[in-house]
């Protein structure tokens, strides 16, 4: 790719820009940390602005997104379908509930969350080893039994609270957190905002780690196994290890999500982890665009906030409560159908395809249209190994576009 030197004006500014761009491309951690810092700032601003009810909704969005993020790597990158991730969340949630079963417990939150992740990881290893031998519908079936069995286990054992579930006591807001919140907002933080903040910080940490993995050698190996097992094996990839590691990573995310679920709901019972939850997570992953972490967050937001918005609209239009909630369900169904019709590769797949088409159109205005096949070819591969970097797909549409701005990827030369 020697065009780098010829196409870009060799002024100092451009070379510095190139250096920064190369740094941005070559060090995913920098990219992900910058994104995370911006995300954190947005979270603080938003949580300051919203009321307590919306903060609760935001917490729900966060824990659903965390679990969906893990499932995104498993299903989108590694091609394994799990219908049991809601049940994996239960392991994290019950662990948190058992550790915070008393008001007097002083275990630090970080320790409790990590313990929840660890328990879920251990379960994930067991299931992952079994799952690595199964494919497609058989794996879906096996994880389906998990989704059905786990709530029943919760009901059966009194130590786990039976039908009622376990109550837990969220630890007091630490003084320093109150101080910072007061300094920033001029008022003491409410408990639901505190939990929302915890959930979103957890989301940011989990997503940095997931994005690191996805853009690394590990994520590339997962994708290779998904695309062609035989060729992956010949490239030196142990299929079982790749599959189990993908399952365990997604289980870890589900464990963290479960811990946040427990803190948010303050009751952990079998009803919270129905098959419905597992199916919802899978729907988010598919609709968000297989393999896209951004899509997983956005779709979680749609899922949590859409029903509320529709119900508000419905009651504004003088519908009674039942009708309004039916409207909410209907609308979600319609959104699903629309996404599948308009963007078969999911929300982020659709956004990427649109971006590529716009770029192709812009390139076509300057050079003769040699990109006839590239708009379809560029749109096809939605799950890149690097969901956090849209520009890595951008170069596919324009292999020889001299007018590319320096922000596109040139680091491969």
């Amino acid at each position: 790719m020697s065009e780098t030197t010829t196409t870009t004006p060799s002024t100092d500014g451009a070379t510095r820009g190139q250096q920064l761009s190369a740094l941005w491309q070559d060090y995913p951690l920098i990219r992900h940390l910058v994104t995370a810092a911006i995300g954190l700032a947005v979270v603080i601003v938003v949580l300051t602005a919203v009321d307590d009810f919306q903060a609760t909704k935001l917490t729900e969005m966060a824990y659903i997104a965390i679990a969906a993020g893990g499932l995104t790597l498993l299903t989108g990158l590694n091609g394994q379908i799990s219908l049991g991730h809601g049940a994996l969340m239960a392991f994290g949630a019950y662990t948190t509930a058992l550790l915070y079963d008393d008001r007097e417990v002083g275990t630090p939150l970080v320790v409790v969350v990590l313990a929840s992740v660890l328990v879920t990881v251990l379960v994930g290893i067991l299931i992952g080893i079994a799952a690595a031998r199964l494919h497609g519908p058989y794996l879906a079936g096996a994880t389906l039994t998990l989704a059905i069995a786990v709530p029943e286990i919760g009901k059966y054992f009194d130590q786990l609270g039976g039908d009622q579930g376990l109550r837990l006591f969220v630890p007091e807001i630490p003084q320093w957190a109150t101080d910072i919140a007061y300094y920033l907002t001029g008022s003491d933080p409410s408990r639901s905002k505190y939990v929302a903040f915890l959930a979103w910080v957890t989301l940011i940490v989990v997503f940095i780690l997931l994005a690191n993995l996805a853009s690394s050698r590990i994520g590339r190996r997962w994708a290779a196994v998904r695309d062609d097992e035989v060729a992956a094996e010949l490239a030196g990839i142990d299929l079982t290890r790749a599959r189990v590691s993908a399952f365990v990573v997604s289980a870890a995310a589900a464990g963290a999500a479960g811990a946040m679920f427990a803190l948010a709901q303050r009751t952990v019972g079998p009803l919270g982890f129905s098959l419905n939850l597992s199916l919802t997570l899978l729907a988010i992953v598919v609709l968000g665009g297989l393999g896209s972490l951004t899509g997983a967050i956005l779709l979680s937001g749609v899922l949590v906030f859409l029903p509320q918005i529709v119900m508000d609209l419905g009651s504004g239009a003088d519908l009674d409560a039942t009708r309004a909630s039916q409207m909410a369900t209907l609308t979600f169904g319609l959104v699903m159908v629309l996404v599948i019709l308009l963007a078969p590769r999911g929300l982020m797949g659709g956004v990427r395809a649109l971006g590529l088409r716009l770029r192709a159109a812009r390139a076509g205005r300057r050079t003769p249209p040699a990109t006839g096949g590239s708009s379809s070819s560029g749109a096809a591969p939605s799950p890149t190994t690097d969901p956090a970097s849209p520009s890595s797909t951008a170069e596919t549409a324009e292999p020889d576009d001299g007018s590319t701005p320096i922000t596109t990827k040139k680091g491969t030369s």
Binding site: D26, Y27, S216, A235, G236, S377, A380
Partner: protein
């Protein structure tokens, strides 16, 4: 490894791969019957034979997809009780597939980087935390993959996805993915299929130049190519070795002529 003279080296060198008395039975069918095959370093060894002669099975034994019912496999002199396909790359053996087996949702560059995985250093934890070391490692792999793509003349497609590329380009990408691991032994499964005669000529030159740094085992139907590039040829028919020798020896072997004539008369009847 010391001698470069082909005639003497083939017996004194430790073979890259040495298959001894390999027998493979699928149920009642004997696919391979005490077949022996050894590929010396920096030599091109061809396997030919009529359809159903057992060429592909032999190939699959060589890379661990098929466990032989009896016989032994020696890699560089060391006997391997059981070969597992994913261990091959680490042992310096690379193989291309008839169906290419490119990763459709990875770019051409990423496809080749997967092939270079053997040279990767950073493990799971470094990847998880995105350590600078793992990023440098990635960059080194990308550079390596890029230079292999340039060697094969397909660097311009690095950012494209395989599905959109013409077949000959995809073949080169698949070859690049095998070569980027810098193998000592390269197994080529019908590399000429689907190529034009010009492209086959280029392929022949490429295989000869590869044999300067690695042993090559070639299964191929295209007789001209086999006769031109191979140092040694093994001919299989009905799971048995019916001839073995230099291209000239094999060409004039009556058993070989029989096998091929026999096949063509069967096909016409």
């Amino acid at each position: 490894m010391s001698s470069i003279e082909p005639s003497s080296s083939s017996t004194t060198d430790v073979a890259e791969i040495d298959l001894r008395d390999i027998t493979v039975r699928f149920g009642g069918l004997t696919a391979l019957d005490s077949v022996g095959l050894r590929v010396a370093p920096r030599r091109v060894h061809g396997v030919i034979g009529p359809n159903g002669a057992g060429k592909t099975t032999l190939f699959n034994v060589a890379c661990g997809f098929v466990q032989p019912s009896s016989g032994s496999i020696h890699l560089r002199g060391a006997a391997r009780a059981r070969l597992r396909p994913h261990e091959l790359a680490g042992l310096g053996i690379a193989r291309t597939l008839q169906g290419l087996g490119l990763f459709d949702h990875l770019t051409v560059l990423q496809n080749v980087v997967v092939g270079a995985d053997r040279h990767a250093r950073s493990g799971f934890l470094r990847a998880l935390f995105g350590s600078p070391g793992s990023s440098r490692d990635e960059r080194a792999l990308r550079d390596r993959a890029m230079s292999t793509l340039s060697d094969l003349g397909v660097a311009e497609y690095a950012g494209r996805y395989p599905g959109s590329l013409p077949y000959p380009v995809r073949k080169r990408v698949a070859l690049a993915r095998a070569l980027v691991s810098e193998p000592d032994l390269l197994l080529l499964d019908e590399p000429a299929s689907g190529l034009s005669s010009d492209e086959i000529d280029e392929l022949g030159q490429l295989i000869r130049s590869l044999s300067e740094s690695m042993g090559v085992l070639l299964v191929e139907h295209h007789m001209d190519l086999v006769m031109k590039v191979c140092d040694e040829i093994t001919v299989l028919d009905f799971g048995k070795v019916i001839a073995h020798g230099t291209p000239d020896e094999v060409r004039s072997d009556p058993a070989v002529l029989d096998a091929y004539l026999g096949e063509s008369s069967e096909e016409t009847s």
